[in-house]
Subunit: 386 residues, 2 copies
């Protein structure tokens, strides 16, 4: 294969995106060196990964002393490091932010302040603090590459395009498991039903967010920051098959789309190997002759009130997107635990947004305060209801 | 709008592509100066165009003395010039080859030898002499931009991509007016029926070639030269709606597609304004919500024997593609005149290819000889049959 070797730090290596990132590394062993692996609480998987990839740096969020002692016991000669230390380490060229929720925020900023390239799968990083993250990237010559399939599609469609050429960005949405359910049944759907995504295998929280389309709303806010385009020029298009991952309409009327089988290893690899494309050995090839038909339609905003809520929060900007994201996270946890109904997810978030008094252009501390406030508000809402 | 002004020579200004090129110029009047207009035999339209665009250079293929005297009579202060003179004139930056058949060959070579950018709509130029044309472009720093919607799509999908990234090029084909006709009825279809293309308004010859899919085969040969990719990695995909104009599969499994309403002004504008994209005022916007469904399928090679023939001629290379193109042109003329049946178009071309003794890496003269030989062969075939 040849070519330069990229030093990787993977923050969130034991989660779904982290594991698939290591799959990509396995298929291109000459091109990557795993310098750092940071896990959350899955220490046994971290051990396994460290045995295979022999990183110089390792870390775990929960019970780090125990985790470290296990590594020593196993004879793995790792230096123990926080995600922030890994993200700024001189041997690291590219930091993969594969965490969920606000955990990705601080290592992302650490990486960007060190001028590293950052591949972001964690949408809350940009939803909560897009204005801070993009300013840090600009200020230190850092680079943000998306991993989310939709944003990877838009990013790939923009390669080689003039900066002022974009008319609209069009995010596709499968519509989730309830796209065809009668509206009156939505109040009584179960967590199990909400977790049956028609096309993608993902974590629980994002799967429920894909059923409400809150996830798509957060993706619109993420796209706004990644591609420096106003929300008014970002559209959501219903596309049942999740084959067209997203599209860009240019101002001359030409439209470009990126397509592929629904397999996260494809956008992960694109982010890891950019600006090259290397042979992928893992995911099956797209065969449109076999797929036959790709279907598109308008989004029914009545079916997906969380999408409207997210676009509203994105429009108000400041701390509102952080409040929405945090309130939704609490609400989804309680929905998955059976404490509240599916439609309550929207009610919790709506109530938090309505009660919030936000700051414009907030500092990181103000964003984190708003996040904490919204979590408390949402917990109170659920307590009052149950 | 601002930006530099591009000096244009339009070779074939009164044909379908030439007229639509002038439409694009009309919508972006500050960005283009029409330096030269070369017509075939439609002198009255050339007069009209010269009155509107005031080119420094004009020319007509048929009856040039009469045409010139008309221009003088009308007080149009044009210098009379051949297509070759226009294509190499110092005031010209970009030459649009909007002719049909081998007429585009000599002005294309003239432009490339002068280091100009050439926007090619005339597929015979590359089908007949791709090896010569691409060598001239390389040798003199000239540039070839495609206008055909399929090739424009591939070209746009390749912007910003690494050169070694392409796995396959996938050309879409609508299947023409007979895609659903029972095979046994094809022998008796009329010229009128063959001219009813489901999606595109085009000239007669290319419309019949779209019914046999010979046109798609020539496009594969054209793509082979434009994108320097072996024929084996070029595929044809049935796509009824002509919305996805073509696709590129990269070696990492990612696929990019270019989409748009079927309107030739879009790819013409892309070729004229490259590397910029400017607001297009003329063509309607693509709305996938309204279109609803895009359909794809395999090509039935039994229905379209001319496609197999073209791929075979492309594989044999040398003078074979020129022979196929010339024999088909004669056959289509006789089909349109009612002298032979629809299925005879294939028989004429097949017989010419079988009889031809081709040269490898032929000179331009050898290509033109092969063209003349094939025309004579095809005329004889028709004469013997009728």
């Amino acid at each position: 294969m040849g070519g330069p070797v990229t030093g990787l730090a993977i923050i969130g290596s034991t989660g779904s995106i982290g594991r698939q990132t290591l799959d990509v590394v396995r298929s291109l062993p000459d091109r990557f060196r795993v310098v750092g692996l940071a896990a959350g609480d899955n220490v046994s998987l971290l051990e396994e990964q460290a045995r295979e990839f022999r990183p110089r740096l390792a870390g775990a969020g929960r019970d780090p002393e125990y985790a470290y002692s296990r590594m020593v016991e196993l004879g793995l000669n790792c230096q123990w490091a926080t995600p922030e230390e890994m993200a700024s380490h001189p041997d690291v060229d590219l930091v993969v932010i594969a965490t969920v929720g606000k955990a990705g925020l601080s290592p992302t900023l650490s990486a960007l302040r060190s001028g590293k390239a950052v591949a972001i799968a964690n949408k809350e990083v940009l939803v909560m603090a897009g204005h801070i993250v993009t300013a840090e990237a600009k200020g230190h010559g850092g680079e943000i590459r998306p991993i989310d399939s939709e944003h990877s599609a838009i990013w790939q469609c923009l390669w080689g395009e003039p900066l002022d050429a974009v008319e609209r960005v069009i995010l596709t949405a499968s519509g989730g498991p309830f796209r065809d359910s009668p509206l009156e049944e939505l109040a009584s759907v179960t967590a199990e039903e909400a977790l049956r995504h028609p096309n993608w295998q993902m974590g629980q929280k994002i799967t429920v967010d894909s059923a409400t389309l809150l996830n798509k709303g957060l993706e619109c806010i993420e796209a706004r920051w990644l591609f420096d385009i106003p929300l008014e020029r970002i559209e959501v298009l219903l596309h049942r098959e999740s084959i067209v991952h997203s599209l860009v309409e240019f101002r001359d009327g030409s439209v470009k789309a990126q397509l592929g089988v629904p397999d996260m290893r494809l956008p992960i690899q694109a982010a890891l190997t950019y600006p090259e494309r290397l042979p992928g050995t893992t995911a099956p090839r797209l065969d449109l002759r076999r797929i036959g038909s790709l279907n598109f339609g308008a989004i029914d905003m009545k079916r997906y009130p969380c999408l409207g809520l997210a676009l509203e929060a994105g429009g108000r900007a400041g701390t509102y997107p952080a409040v929405l994201s945090a309130a939704d996270e609490v609400a989804v946890q309680h929905f998955l635990a059976g404490h509240i109904g599916f439609l309550d997810i929207h009610r919790v978030s709506e109530s938090a947004l309505a009660a919030h008094r936000g700051a414009a252009n907030p500092s990181l501390d103000e964003v984190l305060e708003a996040d904490a406030w919204a979590r408390a508000w949402a917990e109170d809402w659920v307590k009052a209801k149950t």
